[in-house]
């Protein structure tokens, strides 16, 4: 099914068979809310963390925001509307109200569906000792959980072998909200707004504040220091050694425009950026540059990079790369320690490319995979470098 085509999907919701017509990228929570008018399923984060959108799919609790409606052909879905009606509340709903388990109520549908799943499918794990952990998949911002846990514990006590089934599942006609699928999707042929290229920043700003990650990589190169310095101090060769990077324009004031891509599993980022060399000390073999880039997805990175070459053992060179990385936008949420590990891996590949370039005088081909974004750590080169770096690290520590 093409990206802009609408797909007909038939499934059952709260006991009724329904059919919706959705673009592939519409998640189930939106289909339920916008196409079927079932607004009891709430949305918070839309990436699986908050649990607001929890519903039952084929009897098990699942995140409706992490499931595309097109995946649900033939599925049996139960939402909070199916759990009970105002006239015939489910015991869990009664208990939530009795124990004051809700304040603003925004998390309540997710809490109800998650606790229903627990009591129906895993009652052995619903004891008071395990309950807080078991309910940690849904976040509440108001009640401090105590009422919620008391309510679930209460129902578990009265129904130790499993709760009664949903009380409001019956064949009925679901009436959509009318907005329909067309408004949620640009008509095919139009370029969606998010296709617009990220504009490269106009000036380089030196990052301040605490970095998101600091990377320090020391690599032992076989080439002599003079040859290494020749590569490092020549921006076009330097950039050619950086996996996935490309120099597009040389500007006055030791400033450069370029592009860099990173691919990691499903993550693929392409940055348009600007870099400036702040400091070049040929005698000390030190160079400092700052760069910043922006991705189409709204992620931004800034980096303050110091490279330092020193004579190494056996006529080789020890290349030290130190970088402070500043991440913002979506990439920062995803970051964890990953950003540092990935950058470290990049620097290791960079060092091996510098070595090669210094040895052969040629521009290395670090474009492991076409098109431009490079699969990090593909192949033996990286691993060999890595082993060497590990060994070196261990040696440095022993000293």
């Amino acid at each position: 099914m093409e990206a802009h085509e609408l797909v007909d999907v038939a499934f059952s919701v709260n006991g009724s068979s329904v059919s919706v017509s959705v673009p592939p990228r519409m998640h189930l929570a939106d289909a339920l809310r916008e196409q079927l008018g079932l607004t009891g399923t709430h949305l918070g984060c839309e990436h699986g963390v908050c649990g607001m959108c929890t519903i039952l799919v084929d009897g098990d609790a699942a995140r409706a925001c992490l499931l595309f409606a097109v995946q649900c052909e033939g599925a049996e879905i139960v939402t909070v509307e199916g759990l009970g009606s105002p006239e015939r509340q489910h015991p869990l709903q009664e208990a939530f109200s009795h124990h004051h388990g809700l304040q603003c109520g925004f998390c309540t549908p997710g809490m109800l569906m998650s606790s229903y799943d627990l009591l129906a499918n895993a009652p052995d794990h619903a004891g008071d000792d395990e309950l807080p952990e078991q309910m940690s998949g849904v976040l509440c911002r108001c009640t401090g959980y105590r009422g919620i846990l008391a309510a679930v514990s209460d129902v578990h006590g009265t129904h130790p072998d499993g709760v009664p089934g949903p009380r409001n599942c019956a064949t009925r006609t679901l009436v959509g909200r009318g907005s329909g699928p067309a408004s949620s999707q640009a008509p095919s042929g139009d370029v969606p707004a998010d296709e617009v290229r990220a504009a490269a920043p106009a000036e380089v700003r030196i990052p301040t504040g605490a970095p998101s990650a600091t990377v320090l990589v020391t690599s032992e190169l076989r080439s002599p220091i003079a040859a290494v310095w020749e590569v490092v101090s020549d921006v076009s060769r330097l950039v050619a050694c950086l996996p996935g990077a490309e120099l597009t324009e040389t500007l006055p004031g030791d400033r450069y425009r370029g592009r860099a891509g990173v691919a990691l599993g499903p993550v693929k980022l392409s940055f348009e950026g600007l870099a400036q060399i702040l400091d070049r000390d040929a005698d000390a073999h030190r160079i400092r540059l700052v760069g910043q880039g922006r991705d189409t997805g709204g992620s931004a990175t800034q980096a303050d990079i110091r490279l330092h070459a020193e004579p190494g053992p056996d006529g080789g060179t020890v290349l030290r790369a130190e970088a402070d990385l500043f991440l913002s936008g979506r990439i920062a949420q995803f970051g964890r320690a990953l950003a540092g590990d990935v950058s470290r891996r990049l620097f290791e590949q960079f060092a091996s490319a510098v070595d090669e370039s210094a040895r052969t005088g040629a521009v290395p081909d670090v474009r492991v995979a076409a098109p431009s974004p490079v699969r990090i750590a593909a192949g033996a080169v990286a691993d060999a470098v890595r082993r060497r770096v590990r060994a070196l690290r261990a040696r440095l520590r022993r000293r």
Binding site: M1, E2, A3, H4, P23, P24, R25, H27, E46, H47, G51, V57, D60, A61, A62, R63, C65, L67, F68, V70, Q71, S114, P132, E133, S136, G137, V138, Q185, P192, D194, S212, A213, T214, V215, L264, G265, P266, V267, T296, G297, G298, R330, I331, Q333, F334, R336, A337, L338, A339, G340, D341, V342, R344, R345, R375, I376, A377, A382, R393, R397
Partner: protein, 281 residues
């Protein structure tokens, strides 16, 4: 946050899946519990998602004398509830820590291994036990030992045009005991540091060998033979200094992770040794 537009296909056979993946900018969609957040945050925007959910031949879950085989579409919660999983006790210990119930309902075992998040538990289990990962491509099938599969953060020996069709975990042998521990900011979150251990003893309780895998501490799971370190706390501290190389982040410095690793490794090796003795007939 909404995913950018993509084309969606749900082939019915493995050959068709491989044909869809060949050449184009396509990604496998298994449980979607890691892929969909990436799409929603627009950190990735593949042109096509190839849903493997309808390939019947990928849904096997079976145990033989030697291995527990988990097919590519087997969901984490299905494995967790299955009788087959008892053949590999570590799976039972680890599964409750793989995200939350609501995520395990959809997330697959092989998806977690294919995704190769360095903080994920199942790749660490696969590494510690020496599991085998089955990979299929248009050029044929191959079997990759876990030790060679994890190449870096979210990077594996499988290419973008290949599919992980299943994973084989060796079943437990008499005299084996296991440990698992992790420190996360809240239950179900990715670990700041974690370890998986396996100790083998003979009939007299003498330790034959001990293995340990750390995760969340480097860009891949790191497995070491630690037979000589069972009662050597300073040896474990040195090991931590050697294997914990993930840089610091807002949740903890490298030094803090080394400390966590040391405490967890010491504790979980002893636990494994105790279990091993108990299980010895």
């Amino acid at each position: 946050m909404k995913a950018a537009p993509f084309a969606y296909v749900r082939p019915g056979s493995l050959d068709d899946v491989l044909a869809e993946l060949a050449g184009g900018d396509a990604k496998v969609l298994a449980g979607g519990q890691s892929l969909v957040p990436v799409l929603a945050m627009r950190l990735g925007r593949p042109a096509t998602l190839v849903d493997i959910g309808s390939v019947a031949s990928l849904g096997d879950l079976a145990v033989t004398d030697d291995v527990l085989r988990v097919g590519a579409t087997v969901r984490q919660r299905r494995l967790e509830r299955s009788d087959e999983a008892r053949a590999v006790p570590l799976i039972g210990m680890v599964m409750p820590f793989v995200g939350h119930r609501e995520l395990r309902s959809r997330g697959t075992v092989c998806g977690s291994i294919a995704h190769a998040d360095p903080s994920a538990e199942l790749p660490a289990v696969a590494s510690c036990l020496g599991a085998t990962i089955e990979v299929a491509g248009t050029g044929g099938r191959r079997r990759v030992p876990a030790a060679e599969f994890f190449a870096g953060a979210m990077t594996t020996a499988a290419t973008a045009e290949e599919v992980v069709t299943g994973v084989e975990f060796p079943v437990a042998r008499p005299g084996e005991g296991y440990g698992f521990g992790e420190i996360a900011r809240r239950h179900g979150d990715f670990a700041l540091a974690g370890v998986v251990t396996r100790v083998r003893v003979d009939d007299d309780g003498t330790v034959l060998d001990a293995r340990l895998t750390g995760f969340g501490i480097s860009d891949t799971p790191v497995t070491r033979d630690v037979t000589a370190l069972l009662d050597d706390e300073s040896g474990i501290r040195d090991l931590a200094a050697d294997v914990v190389d993930t840089g610091g982040d807002t949740h903890g410095s490298t030094g803090y992770r080394r400390r966590l690793f040391t405490v967890l490794a010491t504790r979980e090796l002893q636990r494994a040794r105790r279990n091993a003795r108990k299980e010895r007939p």
